[in-house]
Symmetry: C2
Subunit: 351 residues, 2 copies
């Protein structure tokens, strides 16, 4: 899922996203809760009516952003008080209000309010965050059932936390699974830990989840993390990575990402990626994209975003095909070997 | 002609411009001369090859921008020395080099290097700028004929100057017309003078021009200036106005421009302009555009630019139709009455 924080994926419209073939995008409850506020989105006919996007919306609950963006947050059993990063206004959100907001958005998939804890904290703090997330999941479920009774059709996913403690991950997985929600997310990974730790906790946690529910790994990611996720049975992921890096000058190619600002591209009149079938690669050159980037032109962001999303969509389609054929391990090895090969047009692989 | 300063119309791609129906866009020689430089554009196959735009390009000569953007310019008979507004580098351009650059661009229409003088200067200074422009026109023509012999297919337009002196305008018109170039532009209007002065000098100058050549009024404009231009037999005009004002929050409607940031649009779920047939008006609301504007989202610039260009293209198509039917005066009166009507959704008309 491309990320559309403010009810827009940055630098690309709904029409192009549909053309690219994405069935679902993510929007951030935290941002939309603050601006324009969920009453306006409800009045507009939910996020679909507000934005014109005909595909599905998954909305996060705002928990992650409250902990990463807002100042002076105060966490309690009831919910969390925080200051808006926009105007400093004091706001409060509870698990129930997160459901109310996402129901007003008419989200196709909504997420429970959770407490995401960072890499490197102690066991007691990790346990407290994880246990509170479970209690909030139960409260979110109760309010979601009321909304379903009132006619809301969207799903609610619970979130497994537990930081980097296997016993906490085990307890959280069991408790969230017991709530029998339509889907389960793994939260609190890719929060600063080394790749090996990420990989270890992903496979450990994933193995604990019910086989018959969609699994969503939050905040992933880069091609290597996506491959790791698929290998561990993950069905959904989201990340700002393809669109944010596009705007910052990083272009995906099968031979690895390239930094478009480099002087070597000044007279490179070939496509961004010679193996890519997208319309940006058909109509435009590296030299033109570099020129637009250097001039800080909006069209640069538009074209780079389109290409990176096309690349990622195509990448996931190829993963899916390799899984169907039972050739995923071969695909993974081959893709990574080429993606990490570097070569004259490439820089080192990205975050 | 929409303006594509850096070889891109800001916030819109070539595909959408073609869809909107524009046959020609303008690019700025001054900017492209400095970045990426005309040798790169030549190597890319001219501006068409560099940008992927399949329509026509008109390029200005850089004169206007040298006088408005660069520091420490020094004007001489030979040409003009100036400092780049990007990196301060000292540069020199002559009438001949302006032709070389625009030939490297493979511009469909190129403009001679001219000296644009501002509103409010004395007769001597005005005469000096106007006479130098005429001498430069002859030099530009000589070099252009060489380029034509070498296979270049583009046209060269001369530029009438003369500031706000009718005798200078008369002399400049006669001398530029005598060069018998494929088209003639009127420069040095809309440079700070009151509308009545603009209108007076436009009609005075226009009446002096040959009937059988296309006439181009540079740097126009707003709907009222465009109507004035058409009334005086002008065939071509360009301006950053529709795209720049779009990015700045001003949306064209038949009832007059609206400032999208206004609180009154917070819950206005209707289209930008109820009478508009563009896809932005079909798919999106004022409330959504206002939200995107407040969030400084790139999609705002994309949608507002598309709508304003659609509006202006449609406006000119309606002018053309009214001229064909012999109903231009009626159309002009009706359009302006509605455009200036204001109403609850409007602010005062723009620059």
């Amino acid at each position: 899922m491309p990320v559309g924080t403010n009810a827009t994926v940055k630098a690309i419209g709904p029409e192009a996203l549909e053309e690219l073939g994405f069935p679902m995008i993510l929007a951030n409850t935290y941002h939309l809760f603050l601006r324009p506020g969920y009453e306006i989105i409800r009045a507009a006919g939910g996020l679909h009516g507000f934005t014109g996007w005909k595909g599905n919306f998954l909305t996060d609950s705002g928990g992650f952003q409250i902990f990463s963006l807002s100042a002076l947050r105060k966490l309690g059993e009831e919910g969390v008080r925080f200051r808006s990063h926009i105007d400093g206004a004091s706001k409060f959100i509870s698990p129930e209000e997160a459901v109310e907001a996402q129901t007003a958005f008419n989200s196709d998939i909504q997420m429970q309010l959770d407490v995401c804890s960072p890499w490197g904290i102690g066991e007691a703090e990790a346990r407290s965050a994880s246990d509170l997330t479970t209690r909030w999941a139960a409260r979110a479920k109760a309010r979601w059932l009321v909304k379903r009774d009132e006619g809301y059709k969207g799903e609610l996913f619970g979130i497994v936390q537990g930081n980097f403690s296997k016993s906490l991950r085990e307890r959280s997985s069991a408790e969230i699974a017991a709530l029998d929600l339509p889907g389960i997310a793994i939260g609190g990974l890719s929060v600063g830990e080394p790749f090996e730790v990420f990989s270890d906790f992903l496979s450990y946690t994933s193995a604990l989840l019910p086989e018959d529910k969609p699994r969503y790994l939050m905040g992933i990611g880069t091609p290597d993390y996506i491959l790791e996720a698929v290998e561990n049975g993950i069905d959904l992921f989201d990340c700002v990575y393809p669109t944010r890096t596009a705007r910052n000058g990083l272009i995906f190619t099968t031979g690895g990402p390239i930094a478009i600002k480099k002087a070597v591209f000044e007279r490179d009149f070939g496509p961004l990626d010679p193996t890519c079938g997208c319309k940006v690669c058909r109509d435009h050159s590296r030299a033109y994209l570099r020129h637009l980037y250097k001039c800080e032109e909006i069209l640069y962001a538009m074209l780079a975003t389109y290409h990176n999303l096309y690349f990622l969509h195509d990448f996931v389609a190829r993963i899916r095909e390799s899984v169907r054929r039972g050739e995923f391990p071969t695909f993974k090895r081959g893709f990574l070997a080429e993606y990490r090969s570097g070569g004259e047009q490439s820089i080192s692989t990205a975050p």
